[in-house]
Structure formats: C-alpha cells, structure tokens
C-alpha cells in the first residue's frame, strides 16, 4: 500500500528545491526534434526557485505591445475547446482582446477535438487560411506539422527576440512535443498527466484509510474493487471502486492504454516509427486493464462529460488530470473539499513512469496571411499569459515557470501530485498513424473486456488491424 511519507514529500515540493530536484525524472534524453522516432521519458528540469521563475518571464507578456502590430483591420478565426469552462474563459478573453484592439475581429468557434481534426484534414490540404489558429490534441499534431501545414509562433508578436525565449517560458521538457528544430509550434492550453482522484467519504465508508490504503499499483487497486463495489437489491451496480472510460470517446482507450504500456517499460512506436501493439509490455498493460474491469455498461460518462461518473459519486476513484477534478466539482459542487489527489497507480512498485502526458495546443495555420498570423500569435500569447486564470477557471495546467511558484498555485489542491505525475510521464506518440493506433487499441480492449477474448490474440489482431489501416 501507499507509503504515507510520499504525500508529505509531494506537499513540500515547492518549498524545497533540493527535494524538487529528486522529482525530476532520471531517464534517457528525449530524442528531441524527431517526433516520429520513439522517445524515452522527458527529463523535466527541477522546478525553478521563485526568483529564477520571475526573471524568466519576458517583459510585456500578457500586456505586450509589439512594434509591428498591424494597424489595419484584421479578422482571425480560432477554434477553441468545447468543454463549458474553456468556452466561458475563451469568450471572456476574446472580448477583452477585441476591446483592447478594436481593429481586430476574432471569430471564436468552440470545436470538438475530433471534429476539429477532421475539418483540418480536409481544409489544410486545400491550403485554406481558416482557421487562423486551432486547438489540437497533442498526438494528432504531427499530421499537420509534419505535412508543413502549420507554422511556428512569431516571437516578435509576443515581444520576444527569439524562439528560445518563448520556449524558456516553460518548464524544460514539458513542451517538447511542440518543438521542431528549435521552433515552437504552438502554446499549450493544458498539459497533463493522469493522477488518481479519490472520493474521501466513499473511500472511508468502505472501512479504508487515507493515505495508507490508497493503491499504488494496479494490483492493489484490483484488490480494493470488491470492497468498494455496491449493488442494490436487484443486482444493479450502484457504486464502483474504479473504472476505465468506455463511452467517452476512442481517445480514452488509447491514451490510458499507452500510458500503461509506458509504465510496464515498453513503447508504442518502434525505431522506424511504426506501432507495435503486441509487445510483452502491451500484454502487461492489457492484464492490468482487465484486472480493473468492474461493470463497464453502468456509466453515464459521455464525450462532453467524461468525468460524470466520478462527479455523480458512482466511481469512488477515477483517473484524470487537474481539469478532471475541476470539471467534476463543477458538476457536483458538494465534492469540493472531499477529494484527494494521489499518484496514478503503476504497473509495479518502483516503476519510474507514471503514465502518459498529453496536451492541447493552439497551432498556427501556415496559409493565413502575414497579418493574420502575427495577430493570431499575439492573441495566443495574450490568451495564455495568465496561467492562474486558466487554473482557477478550468483546472487546466499550463507548465509555465512563472506560475508554479505563485502562492495561489501552491495552495491548489493536488497540484504537487499533478506536477509530479507530469514529471514522471512520457508524451503520447506523435505520428500521423495515431488514429489507426487508437482504433486498434480500442478494438483490442473491447474484445478482451466485452467478449472475454484471449489477451495475446486480441493484441495480435490489433497489430494486424493497424498494419491493414496504414498499408
């Protein structure tokens, strides 16, 4: 079970740079600017001290007035996230920006992740200039950056003198998927790993104690499931200990499974950038997944509300990033103060990798005009100039150096755990074949979970399906 001292170490991260340096993942260096080759876990540098963070902030960020800002009327279109909290803050920021820049009109369209991807796949090969900027799911970025449809952000638009100055805004290693040959291809709206959210009351009702009984491995979690599951007189499940997400969209299969492959010491891409889905590590991941299947059909999770079951207190524990906690509290305000955050269970004790890291980033359309790209770059910088505002409103974590040390950040529930899991995580593979990988993984898991198929055979079939899809 969980070492109770682990939480104590996590809670004092910010006050102890020496301890913070121990959080850094000691792993082989990322291969860096060739995203299609397999990379080892990112090596996040120690979290900086307060003075270092403040000095790293470019002057004028947030209230930046670049010298070459277009003087004529400029219209830009942006696609932002569809979750309620993001929509609200997005609208507010757009209004503020337009008020400060009356010659600029921003057409803000909340667009779902997959919907945005599907539209970009059609519009960008046709060299269309819209949207000027779009929110993109990290593993899908390679499709557009690799095909030269996207451009790096414009440093001058953000009052920076170089790309490196923009990159230095962020904790080293935290935005590697956005960097190509030293160029920054977007800014993160959020970058997360998964942690374990625990409903304190429900957990204790089962006679369990926090933090001693909090599971640190998938095996320990599986052992808790019978204690936490409840059924009514008719046999209908009314409470589950923990459940993976089966009805919130294909991405939930891919991201979590890939993270569990990383935990087992494996990788998804081989040296040639092709997926290998039937490795021994993938089998371990599937075994860990299957151990924690409770009652997949009992769920209210949907694509727009993937944390509904945790919010409804159907699930005692759930996996998710910091935005998941905020989302659940928004649906069920009574959860505030009743949820603890712990590191995500791992494949085995001592596993160095916490799982996978993912993000959503605002990319810049290459085919927009020079003025539109300049204004869009400036707007993107403005949009994310206040990470605390995003954190407060949405729970979305931006890995900026100049924010973690702020008192407001340090006071946030679970932030130390979220950051620790992020530090130990590896990014999702960036390949234009990602959707084929995701689909094959989904089918493999559904065969095992719903049809009780043999795990090895299911993974072999997944590999065949992937190879057929990317012929």
């Amino acid at each position: 079970m969980r070492d109770s001292s682990r939480g104590a170490i996590g809670r004092t991260l910010f006050g102890r740079p020496a301890v913070a340096s121990l959080v850094m993942l000691i792993a082989a260096a990322c291969s860096g600017s060739t995203p299609t080759t397999p990379s080892s876990a990112p090596s996040l540098a120690p979290l900086p001290s307060s003075s270092a963070a403040v000095s790293a902030q470019p002057s004028g960020a947030g209230a930046c007035n670049p010298a070459n800002y277009p003087t004529g009327n400029v219209n830009i279109s942006i696609w932002t996230g569809t979750d309620t909290t993001s929509q609200e803050i997005g609208r507010a920021i757009v209004q503020e920006y337009q008020a400060a820049h009356p010659t600029v009109h921003i057409d803000n369209t909340p667009t779902g992740t997959v919907d945005a991807y599907n539209k970009l796949v059609v519009t960008l090969p046709s060299s269309l200039p819209q949207p000027t900027s779009a929110l993109n799911y990290e593993p899908l970025m390679e499709t557009f950056i690799g095909a030269d449809f996207m451009e790096p952000l414009i440093p001058e638009a953000m009052c920076a003198t170089s790309q490196q100055e923009l990159i230095d805004l962020y904790i080293p290693g935290s935005i590697d998927p956005l960097i190509r040959d030293g160029q920054l291809y977007g800014m993160p709206a959020q970058r997360n790993a998964y942690s374990l959210l625990v409903n304190n009351d429900k957990f204790k009702e089962a006679g369990l104690t926090i933090p001693d009984d909090i599971p640190s491995t998938w095996d320990e979690l599986a052992a808790l499931q019978p204690k936490l599951q409840k059924k009514d007189a008719s046999g209908k499940t009314t409470q589950k200990g923990f459940e993976f997400r089966y009805t919130s969209g294909d991405q939930w299969f891919g991201s979590q499974f890939i993270g569990m492959v990383y935990q087992a010491g494996g990788d998804i891409l081989d040296a040639q950038g092709k997926a290998k889905l039937n490795t021994p590590e993938a089998l371990i991941a599937m075994q860990n997944w299957a151990k924690n299947v409770v009652d997949p059909s009992v769920t209210n999770n949907q694509g727009p509300s993937p944390y509904q079951d945790f919010a409804d207190e159907l699930d005692v524990m759930a996996f998710g990033g910091p935005n998941a906690l905020r989302f659940a509290e928004r649906i069920n305000p009574s959860l505030k103060g009743r949820v603890s955050v712990f590191p995500l269970p791992r494949a085995a004790e001592g596993s160095e990798i916490s799982g996978m890291a993912y993000g959503f980033h605002m990319l810049l359309n290459k085919f927009a005009s020079a003025e539109e790209k300049f204004v869009a770059s400036h707007f993107i910088g403005f949009m994310f100039s206040d990470p605390n505002r995003w954190w407060d409103a949405t729970g979305q974590l931006q890995p900026r150096k100049d924010w973690y040390t702020l008192p407001a950040a340090q006071a946030s529930v679970g932030l130390d755990v979220f950051i620790a899991d992020l530090a130990d995580a590896r990014g999702l593979p960036q390949t234009s074949d990602y959707l084929a990988i995701q689909t094959a993984i989904k089918n493999a898991i559904q065969r095992v979970v719903l049809e009780k198929a043999d795990m090895k055979a299911s993974l072999d079939q997944a590999q065949q399906e992937y190879e057929a899809a990317v012929r």
Binding site: G249, D250, S432, L435, Q446, L450, E451, R471
Partner: protein, 310 residues
C-alpha cells in the same frame, strides 16, 4: 400536301426560333423548360457527378490527402477489399442494418398511413406529432437514443415491466445493430408513412365503391385495390429507404463509433474511417464505389421487378 423539299409543312408560318425548337427539342418543349433545368443540372454536375468521377478515379490509386501523393494501383484496392475481413464484415453489418430497418418501414409505414387515412377525429394533430422525429436535427437522434438504450435506460426499464431482461444494447455485439435499427425506424417510419398517405389519397374512391357494390370485404379491397395501386409509392419507399439507410453514417459514428469491436461498423463508417482517419483515400474510394454498385444494382433490380409485374 408537302411543301418545298426538306420543309416540314407544319413549320409554315413559324419563326426561325420556333422551327429550331421543333427540330431540336421536339414539338412540345418550350425554351423555358430547358432554362429551368440547367441550374439544377449544373448543381448535379458540380456536387454529384464530378465528385463521383473523382471517387472512381481515386479508387484506382493509393492516395494520401495529407501528403498529396497518388500512386496508380489499378484494381489493387478492389482486390484488397475482397480479402479485407473488416470490409466484408462491414458489408454484412450494413446488410443486416438495411434489412432490419427497411422491413419494419415497409410494413409499419403503410399501417400508419392507413390509420391516418381513416380520417378519424384527431388524425391531423396526430399526423403533426408523429412527424416530430423526422424534423429533429439528426445529431439529436444518436445522443437521445444512447440514453434511452442505456442498460438502465427507459427502453430496458420498459422491457422490465413485461418481465423481459433488456440486453446491453451498445456493448453486446449480438444486439448492437438492433440499437441502430430502432432509432432509424423511429425517425423514418413517420416520413414514409406520409409518402404512403399521399399515395393512398391519390387512389380514387370509385374503385372502392365499385368493390363494395361487388361485395368485396375490407381485406379484399386492400389486397386487390390498395396494394396494386400503391405499387409506384411502394417502389419509391423501398428504394429511398434502402438507399438512405445503406449510406447512413451519423448513427454508427455517434452512437457506437462502430463498436464494440467493429460490430456496428457499417460500410459508410468503414469508408469514413479509412478515408479521413487512416488517410487511405484510394482504398476508401474503392469501398465507396462498391457501395454505389450495390445500391445501383438494387435500384435497377427493384425497378425491373415491379415493372415486370405490370
């Protein structure tokens, strides 16, 4: 008596334009008819025929829309389709989906139309209410039915009242196609009922009056008058329902995403996935050509079958 050689006697006294119209368009076709048809013809060429020709062309290539690379393969895509278990499964799934959807449509739409045709009090209001599923935005349908078909949703709760244990509609590969059929019928039976109703209202009452005089029962009148005279309407309903169901993608895409384990992946969803998720545009185009051939073959066969009976 004929006039000068080559001059149609009927053309005497006519302008050049009138003579042109008679020789080119026939004696009864006015200019304005052609003018009215041209815009829609242009629309069809741009948005229907040209994309169709492009799809046929792409089916002969290995085409990546992102990399903008095309490699000529000839019939290779079609040969690969013939050996692709996922494609073959999608054809079977689509067949089951179409048959399961169209059979109830053909029967229940006619029954509903007959009820509406009775002219009983309240049928006007009833006709408006039952049409609501047709006018609901299509995206609402799968979202609504995902909740209704939840293991503990209204459908299973209703079945439970009759002592029937409802299945896991969206997670059981044996019933997931049924989960597509039910909302499709829910949405389209009222539409086709109105088409049948229009057909029923076009049948002259004289036939029924004469049959009653001859002593024909209600069933005999339905069998020997209504059904034969509804044949043109039946052909329309059959062809339209098969065509629209075969190419339907919204329900499998949004309700089930083709799962579990491709059990609800219809041919249209297979085409979409291969074209826009896996970037195999040529392969997807080949599958779309196969779908087109299936639907066209069925349509031609249906038209000939009903024509033969005449």
């Amino acid at each position: 008596m004929s006039g000068a050689a080559g001059v149609d006697p009927r053309a005497r006294g006519q302008t050049i334009g009138e003579r042109f119209r008679r020789s080119w368009l026939g004696p009864r076709e006015p200019y304005w008819g052609l003018l009215l048809v041209v815009p829609i013809l242009i629309f069809f060429v741009i948005f229907k025929f040209w994309p169709l020709l492009q799809a046929i062309r792409l089916s002969l290539y290995d085409a990546d829309p992102i990399k903008k690379v095309e490699t000529f393969l000839g019939a290779r895509n079609f040969l690969d389709l013939a050996g692709d278990p996922l494609f073959l499964r999608s054809v079977v799934t689509t067949t089951a989906y179409v048959v399961g959807t169209v059979a109830p449509i053909m029967v229940l739409s006619l029954v509903l139309a007959l009820l509406l045709h009775t002219g009983l009090r309240g049928t006007a209001l009833f006709r408006t209410l039952i049409f609501l599923p047709v006018i609901v935005p299509i995206i609402i349908v799968p979202i609504l039915w995902r909740f209704l078909l939840h293991p503990y949703g209204l459908v299973n709760e209703g079945l439970g009242l009759f002592g029937i244990a409802g299945p896991n509609w969206l997670s059981d590969k044996d019933v997931v196609v049924g989960a597509l059929i039910i909302p499709t019928d829910w949405r389209f039976i009222p539409l086709y009922a109105l088409i049948y109703l229009a057909g029923l209202q076009s049948i002259a009452e004289d036939y029924y009056d004469a049959a009653k005089v001859d002593g024909a029962s209600a069933i005999q009148r339905f069998r020997w008058i209504t059904l034969p005279l509804l044949k043109p309407t039946t052909v329309v309903v059959l062809i339209a329902s098969v065509t629209f169901t075969a190419k339907s993608i919204v329900l499998p895409l949004v309700m089930t995403e083709g799962g579990p384990n491709n059990a609800s992946t219809t041919l249209s969803l297979f085409i979409y996935q291969n074209g826009f998720a896996f970037f195999n545009l040529g392969y997807a185009s080949a599958a779309s050509v196969v779908l087109l051939l299936i639907v066209v073959t069925f349509t031609i066969a249906t038209l000939r079958l009903f024509r033969t009976d005449d």
